[in-house]
Symmetry: C2
Subunit: 196 residues, 2 copies
Amino acid sequence: MAKIKLGKNVTKKEVITQTAAVLFKKKGYGSTSMRELAEALGVEAPSLYNHIGSKSELLQVVCFKVANAFTSYLDTVENNLTSNVYILEKIIRFHIQMMLNNFDEVYVANHEWKHLKEPYLSNFLIQRRGYEKRLVVLMETGIKQNEFKDVNPYVSVLTILSSVRGLEFWQQHKKNISSQVLEDDMVNHLLNGIKK
Amino acid sequence: MAKIKLGKNVTKKEVITQTAAVLFKKKGYGSTSMRELAEALGVEAPSLYNHIGSKSELLQVVCFKVANAFTSYLDTVENNLTSNVYILEKIIRFHIQMMLNNFDEVYVANHEWKHLKEPYLSNFLIQRRGYEKRLVVLMETGIKQNEFKDVNPYVSVLTILSSVRGLEFWQQHKKNISSQVLEDDMVNHLLNGIKK
DNA sequence: TACAAAAACTAATAAGCATTAGTTTTGCAA
DNA sequence: TTGCAAAACTAATGCTTATTAGTTTTTGTA
């Protein structure tokens, strides 16, 4: 009876996927039923299968959309050669903006990837490890070129990625601090700790 | 037939809870069945109910054990009055050690608390927010007393807590770097960014 | 207005879940 | 060795789940 509502230039599958991301974030993948998802869309559960293949497909789409966004950004920023410090700053800012503007999807990719089915699970982990490794190389290069202190590059990358990821706890304070102050404070805190 | 094996000074309930923590971490609370837990203990599922009340009770025990450990440590370290910088350093080191030495339980408390039932869910969140608030006050005091730069205290606390939490991704590199190097590097990275 | 495709619906399936009830086995103390 | 409590077992219950099959309604187009 009720139909899935469409915005502009958005397929029904995309609407379903976005709604799924909201629910997966709120309740977790395993605890979100197709009935709940259907209800959120104003539809009966089996109707969803006219548009999607399976529940786990929804998770795959969300996780790889996020992973690909980060990988693509790193590609472009690495090609514009400047200092390693500046590249790193741009990456940190991109991570922060992704956390603030695509919160549901990033959260799901960070927390629910474990429920991916093979071979997607393995591919996701390979892609993520590759991304981290590229950041480590960036840090190592910066250390050699005397831009960064002589820290352990793994520890630094880990610290940076984790800090940014922690913005998921930020939602509650959103009203008190502008996202620009947040972004600048966080960039300074993280870069001042390692810059020479 | 098979009995649950006991170590020294450990009740059967504690053995079950610890095993549950390992499984909850590996597969998530919702995707861990009582059958799997029982199998890991060499027992049939209904036998578990001779020792525990319910599946969700297991999650409660894990989450509050972790939460109480952090709260207690903050109590003791706050009573030994020294500089705010030094207190903060001790707290960071405690967090790191908890991540390294009680990984399964801390991970579960960080990731699976969402599945707690009321009123435990609310209590857990209240306790966590209270803990964070105490750290913010510590940071504010340190700023007033000119120990820290004039940063936003919420952002700094968030950055620190998130970085430490990110040690969950550390397991894979464990072999390459000693935990002492890790701890010192991370403390320096985080404190150098905000110390005056 | 009629037709065809898209997308909704209802009904059903088979599997998995936590948990309870009732029974048997185990292990310790007298 | 006997007896009792603790702790295991088997069997069953009732519920929820993702998904499929088959049917009807809706919608856009000729």
